[in-house]
Structure formats: C-alpha cells, structure tokens
C-alpha cells in the first residue's frame, strides 16, 4: 500500500463516508439546533444583564460581576461536567442537551454582558446629557440613544465571541449529546478508522466557515462612523 492509499484509507475511506454520512448529518442538525438556542439565550441574557448593570445598584452589580468573572474564568468543560454530574444529586435530572444548552448560554451571556457593558460605557456622556435634557427618561435615553450606538460598537467582538462559544457544542460529546463530534467518535469506535472524525471536522467547517466570513463582513460594515 503506497502512502496516498494509506492516507485515503485512514481519513477518507469511501465506504465509511457513505455509511456514516447520515449520522454526521444528524449530528449537524443537533449542533445547529443547540448553537442557535445558545446564541438566542446567551445574547438575550447578556444584554439583559448589561441593562440591569446600567442601573448601577451596588449589590446587584456585584452579583453580576461575580457571575461574569467566574463564568469567564472556568474552562467550559469543567462547567459542563459539574452541571451534568452534579445536578442529579440535588434531584434535578436534565437531559444532556439541556445541560449543554444551559452551560453554553450562561457562558455566552457572561461574555456578552461584558461586551454590551463596555459598549454602553463607550458611548460619550454628552449623548446622555443631550437625551436627558430633552426630557427623555433614563430608560428612553438608554433604549433610543445609547443602545443603538453601543450595539454597533459591540457587533465585531460579539460576533467573534459567539463563534468561539458555539464551537463548544463539541463538548456535548462527553455527556452524550448526539452532536457532530459525538456521532463522529461513535462511528470511529465502531469502524476503527479516522474517516468519521475527518467527516466531523469537515462538518464543522461547513457550518462555521460561513459564520466566520459573515462575521468578517459584519465587522467591516459596522465600523462606526465617528462624528
């Protein structure tokens, strides 16, 4: 067997591709579903936390900061394992995909909160002055004047962070969520061949390369035109 054939047989064995393609596709659907749910929940919760933080209540803000810092400091895998193996001990039995969704959503929320908060802070104080001087309430000024500017500033870092967090859906494999990597490793252990893993890698590329490119486009488009 020459090297080329060996390479093909190891990573791109045709009959294995045909056999496991349906499984990998199923995994893609699961990954997409969880990723989308994570994006929606994580960004919404992050924005909500940033808005609450802007009210500047000391106790509440201390709680938010602790949550955010702990979530950002812990490796995601540690959180996934703690929640998955810990919750049943207190009588809460969650399906593994729900655990993955919860953990990743909280993680994204923590990062998103910091990004939104930085965006809110970076809007010049004169904007608050102008808005409040015309009689807008605090929330009206925040909603109509500050947030639209803050969100524009946050789009590039938020896009990057969202991609980074949603890729962590692969962690679901350790708790048995049937996402891409889980399907691929299962297939690998049945076939004793790395082809399904390569298929998994390609599946990730198919999913995330368009997102990365979109992110780059958004980044250039949303560069704020400063007055």
């Amino acid at each position: 067997m020459d090297n080329a054939t060996l390479f093909i047989d190891t990573f791109f064995k045709p009959e294995l591709i045909v056999r496991y393609l349906p499984d990998i596709m199923k995994g893609m659907v699961v990954t997409i579903e969880i990723a989308m749910l994570v994006v929606v929940a994580g960004i919404s919760l992050g924005l909500a936390l940033a808005l609450v933080r802007s009210l500047r209540s000391r106790i509440v803000n201390a709680a938010i900061i602790i949550f955010v810092d702990v979530a950002r400091a812990l490796p995601p895998l540690v959180l996934v394992l703690i929640v998955y193996f810990g919750l049943p001990n207190v009588g809460i039995l969650l399906p593994s995909y729900a655990v993955l969704w919860l953990v990743l959503s909280f993680l994204l929320a923590a990062f998103a909160e910091e990004i939104f908060w930085a965006g809110i802070l970076s809007v010049r104080k004169g904007q608050w002055d102008a808005a409040r001087s015309t009689g807008l309430t605090y929330s009206q000024a925040l909603l109509h004047v500050i947030l639209p500017q803050a969100v524009r500033l946050t789009v590039p870092p938020l896009t990057n962070r969202t991609i980074a967090i949603t890729k962590n859906t692969a962690l679901g494999t350790v708790i048995g969520v049937p996402e891409i990597l889980n399907q691929a490793t299962t297939a690998e252990s049945f076939s004793f061949n790395a082809t399904p893993l390569m298929m998994g890698a390609i599946a990730y590329l198919v999913l995330f390369v368009p997102v990365v490119i979109t992110g780059r486009y958004i980044e250039t488009r949303f560069i704020w035109r400063r007055v």
């Binding site: 010049r124 004169g126 904007q127 002055d129 102008a130 808005a131 409040r132 001087s133 015309t134 009689g135 807008l136 309430t137 009206q140 109509h144 004047v145 639209p148 500017q149 524009r152 704020w224 035109r225 400063r226 007055v227």
Partner: protein, 248 residues
C-alpha cells in the same frame, strides 16, 4: 418660599460640591421673560456647572431653582416634563450620530410629548427650517459641518417649545468661519422673544445682543449689569481685568 411669577428663572443660594470641592458657593440669579443673559468668567469659575444645575444634569447640593414658577428641585415635580421646557445646547453639539437631522429633532417630540410620527415630523421640519437647515433633514450628523450640527442641536431644543434655553459655550468647538451662522440663529431666537442664558466667550455678541452680562468667578456671581456697564469703566475691577486679559 414663593417664586415671583414674572420670572422665568429664579435661583437662590445655589451650591454645588464635587466631593470636598465646592464649585458653586451660593449663587442668586434671576432671568426675566425674553431676556438674554450672558455668563462670562475665567475657566473654573463654575459657569458650565451652574448651567448644568439649571436643568439638573448636575444635582445641586443646596439652594432653590424655580423655572416659570415651578420648583425644579421638588421631588414631586416631574423632572422630565420640566426638562422638556428647558432647552439646552452643548459645546460638543451632542447630536445622536445614528439618527438623521430630522430624527434628532423628532425623538423627544415622539417619545416625550407622545406625538404621532407625521405630527412630529411637521414640527421637526419647521424647527429645521427655523435654523436654515430644512434641506438637510435627511443628513446624518457626520455629513454636516460643525456649524450645521450645532444648528440642528438648536432645532432639537426649540422644537420642544422651551420656556428658556441654556447655551453652554455653543460656538467654542467651531471653526471661526462657522461661528457666525450659529450666532445668527441665536440672534434670531432672541429677536423672536426666546429667553436665553448663554455661557460663552463671544464678547462681541454679548455686547451687541445681551440684555445683561453676569461675571462669575470662583463659584460666585462677582458682578452683573447691562453690557455697557460690564464692558465699561464702572465694572468690578476683577471683571475688567478678566476682559482686558482676553481682549486681543
């Protein structure tokens, strides 16, 4: 204390401290309807802080402020409703960069006064027309010159039909050739009877347009009177010294 009904603005014993530093040390100040009052003084005198207390962008530490007979500092009075009646124009314009000129003018009309879009836009166009920028209604702030931006900011304030307008160094951030267009709009407002308090270093404008000039120093009103007095030999020596220092 009863406010005198014929005053648009009545300030008594106004004090403001930041931390341990007292910036305003007990200011008494009144403005009559249709009056244009100029506030001048060295930097650090507390002029801007004073102006910002007049619509509670800064919270006074002590004293009283009555606007058109209403107690601005009374907790029961709706500060947002009162602010709508106190127009403010800033040194840095502070236009909303994500909104067009018209959008800048109509935001408070829609959200504070609760007007329908069509109605708000009609008022918005009229206000922009007033400052000579009706044809720039759809332009974004970054497409406008500094002078035009400041005029939009003035339109944003006058659209709310304020009882009094506060100008915080409205021309200080402008290139010299753009100052005239903003002063012309202010002059027009004054002629039409708008009550105005102006913090500015435009001495020629003060001399020509102001009814009264107030000289502030070190957190206190040091001297006040008609321009002829403040700019003449009868002024407080400190005011004369300040004016001699900035005359070039």
């Amino acid at each position: 204390m009863l406010a005198r009904r014929n005053l648009i603005l009545e300030v008594r014993g106004l004090r403001k401290s930041f931390g341990g530093t007292e910036v305003l040390k007990g200011i008494d100040f009144t403005v009559e309807p249709q009056e244009l009052v100029f506030i001048i003084g060295p930097s650090g005198a507390g002029k801007s802080t004073f102006l910002r207390c007049l619509n509670r962008l800064e919270e006074p530490t002590d004293g009283s402020i009555f606007v058109d007979g209403m107690d601005l500092l009374h907790p029961k009075n709706d500060i947002n409703a009162m602010r709508r009646r106190i127009g403010m124009v800033f040194q840095a314009f502070n236009l909303y960069p994500h909104k067009t000129a018209l959008g800048n003018v109509t935001l408070a009309l829609r959200k504070v006064m609760g007007l329908a879009n069509a109605q708000a836009e009609a008022i918005g166009y009229a206000a922009l027309d007033r400052v000579g920028l009706k044809d720039k209604a759809c332009a974004y702030p970054n497409e406008l010159s500094g002078g035009q931006q400041q005029r939009v900011a003035i339109a944003r304030a006058i659209a709310l039909q304020p009882k009094i307008m506060l100008f915080d160094e409205p021309t200080s951030a402008l290139d010299p050739e753009l100052v005239g267009s903003v002063l012309a709009v202010m002059r027009d407002l004054q002629t039409s009877g708008m009550t105005m308090v102006v913090v500015s270093h435009e001495m020629r404008f003060a001399r020509e347009a102001a009814h009264r000039v107030v000289f502030m120093e070190d957190g206190l009103v040091c001297d006040e009177g008609p321009p002829a007095k403040i700019f003449g030999p009868d002024a407080n020596p400190r005011a004369s010294k300040f004016l001699a220092g900035i005359a070039r």
